[in-house]
Amino acid sequence: MNRAVSRPQPRVSVGGPWNKVTGAFGAIARTTSGPVYLVLLVVFIICFAVVTIDGGEFLSVDNVRDMLVRSVALGIVAAGQTLVILGASLDLSVAYVISLSSLLGAETMDGQNGQIITGIGLVLLVGLGIGLVNGIVITKLRVNAFIATLGVGLIIRGYLEANYAGPAGKSAPDFLKLGFESWGPIPLSVILLFAVVGAVWALLRWSRFGNRLYAVGGDEQVAKLSGVRTHRVIITAHVLCALAAAITGLFLASRLGAGSPLVGQEASYDLQSIAAVVLGGTYLLGGRGGVLGTLAGVLILAMLDNTFDQLEVDPFAKDVARGLIIIAAVAAYSVRWRRRRRSEQAAAEGVEPPAGGTPALQEGRTT
């Protein structure tokens, strides 16, 4: 199973220059994450300049640490979300899984260090179960992922609202270290974030599951015909995504010292994580992208947030600006990507790139 399968059809037949580029750079270029780092750099320079001119500190150790810690929760969910989106699916239930996990974790621990392992184990088990349900409903019952995960999310939300009026449980004292202690200068939570992102990256890069996921997301029919058990791949992606959400819930339980039935919805981790993934250059229709881009997307959002906070921008104006920036960044990727496609096609056919023409014919939006 080669990753070439994952590309939209016209690219397979194209012997363009990108096929000859090998190694890590080629992988980055192919996964469409390239422009993401450019945007990350531009946003970094602008934020740095604006905050410095305003008389604030952007690159101080404290501020960088603050930005990173604030990225942990979104970063972990978004890493999981990357997997399902690469498989041309999506998960709208993560926000509720996060809330549920924070409550289950904190209630099981109930302030006792001896219960930490049980709490973590139980939460991960529940996460696994929810991921299985999501995956099975999508593949076996053939319900569209949007509706399936929305429905599962509603079910969890109903359970939460019927049983909890507010924060409950108490995280074990030792468990709080995850949220607040540092290992040298690096907070433990940031290590957790990099561990999760690293694990997802390794999975995508080296495992058979990773290759199959790209194939299924690129074209499920083709993947099936090439002998991939597509259902198993999609279910696995959903299980891993729900596990990532469960880990986020545990992390938030450690930060808050208790579980909260609203912690996931308040930050709307469902939609925010999807935005971060797409901001990170992953193709919403599946098959292209990667988790490093997602990390960059999360960092872009964190830098913007930090800058707005330092400038004391009204929180509502922050939402407006964030929305515009997301659209602008994703528009920039798609323009770049289209241009590259056009020149590749031209190189393959030995003709000049078409000047005008119907744009819909130049990009496989429906693949």
Binding site: G87, A88, L90, V137, I138, L141, R142, V143, N144, A145, F146, I147, A148, L150, G151, V152, G153, L154, I155, I156, R157, G158, Y159, L160, E161, A162, V216, E220, Q221, I234, L271, I274, A275, V278, L284, L285, D314, F316, A317, K318, D319, V320, R322, G323, L324, I326, I327, V330, A331, S334, V335, R338, T358, P359, A360, L361, E363, G364, R365, T366
Partner: protein
């Protein structure tokens, strides 16, 4: 968006077919996708009738339609966007914006209701055009565009009102969602919102059966093929987004009078509208669906809420039931569609 290929679409209207054959084919296709939702609606109403026979009187049925009208109108708008292969997640926040902006500008003065209404429609038009423009010309996935629009709309409106809705709707503004033609035979009162729903439903069905509706389905089914056969894909999609935004404005105007001025009025409506359309046989990813199905889907959701209410189900568990029933109904509809 869909992880699996859409079911084989009906062949586009061929040149050799007569108009009646085309119409029959379209009707059959529409019914095949929507049969399940009508059955579900009947089942829910039987359950409601068993629990409370009083709710089957014409007056009560009209009241039910009045409550269902905003969601049904939103579902009609959602149908056009979904059938063209896109998403609109911004309608819920647009409803909130409509209500909050109307209250602030209207400020209890009946004289300026008309200008305010005109402004709201202009706002809806602008939102729809922006969504459509970013999706088609800038090629940003509509999921992201409308998600960003959701952020921007709610951010902008609260920035403007400093966090809490202010002002009030004038009586004549509120009467749109609240009142109706009194002394109507049998029904006692025919609410304006039901008249609006019927009018919009009629217009939408007419649009969907005509050339525009067929172009929407063609674009949603395969935009390349549609472009090759000479359809302006961009124009069709932009029009779909405008229809969706306008439907949100109308739903907002009705809800403002019916439910009052709160900042929570539109929360979650985008998902309910999409759910209604999908229950009614619209396929996410585009190319399949019907307006009548979308309306029926909205009626099913409203009947479901009513039934759960009758049985005294906790509001929280109501959501859990809704989730279960949505998954069940959509998977059933899917099996039926594949089974032929």
């Amino acid at each position: 968006m869909s992880a699996r290929p859409a079911p084989v679409p009906e062949p586009p209207a061929g040149a050799g077919q007569s108009r009646t054959e085309q119409a029959l084919g379209l009707a059959a296709a529409a019914f095949r996708g929507t049969a399940i939702v009508w059955l579900l609606l009947i089942a829910l109403w039987v359950a409601i009738g068993i629990k409370n026979p009083n709710s089957l009187t014409p007056e009560q049925l009209v009241l039910y339609l009045k409550r269902a009208a905003p969601l049904a109108i939103l579902a009609i708008g959602a149908y056009f966007v979904l059938a063209s292969g896109e998403f609109d997640l911004s309608v819920g926040s647009l409803v909130t914006v409509v209500v909050v902006v109307a209250a602030r500008l209207n400020d209890g003065d009946p004289a300026n209701t008309l200008p305010v209404l005109a402004l709201l429609f202009a706002l809806g038009l602008a939102v729809g055009l922006f969504n459509g423009f970013c999706t088609t010309i800038l090629r940003v996935p509509s999921f992201i565009v409308t998600l960003a629009m959701l952020l921007m709309l709610s951010g902008a409106v609260f920035l403007w009102t400093k966090g809490a809705p202010r002002g009030a709707l004038a009586d004549n503004f509120r009467s749109i969602g609240r009142e109706g033609i009194d002394g109507f035979p049998v029904l006692n009162q025919l609410p304006y919102s039901v008249i609006i729903l019927l009018a919009i439903g009629g217009i939408a069905i007419w649009l969907a059966r005509g050339g525009f509706g067929r172009r929407v389905l063609a674009v949603g089914d395969n935009d390349r093929a549609a472009a090759l056969s000479g359809i302006s894909v961009h124009r069709v999609r932009i029009a779909a987004f405008v229809l969706s935004a306008i439907s949100a404005v109308i739903a907002g105007i009705i809800l403002g009078g019916f439910a009052g001025v709160t900042a929570q009025v539109g929360i979650g409506l985008e998902f309910q509208a999409i759910t209604a359309a999908v229950l009614g046989g619209t396929v996410l990813g585009g190319g399949r669906g019907s307006v009548t199905g979308a309306i029926a889907g909205a009626l099913v959701l409203q009947a479901l809420f009513m039934l759960l209410n009758l049985y005294g189900v906790d509001r929280a568990l109501e959501q859990a039931f809704t989730g279960l029933i949505i998954i069940g109904a959509v998977s059933l509809a899917g099996f039926r569609a594949r089974g032929g």
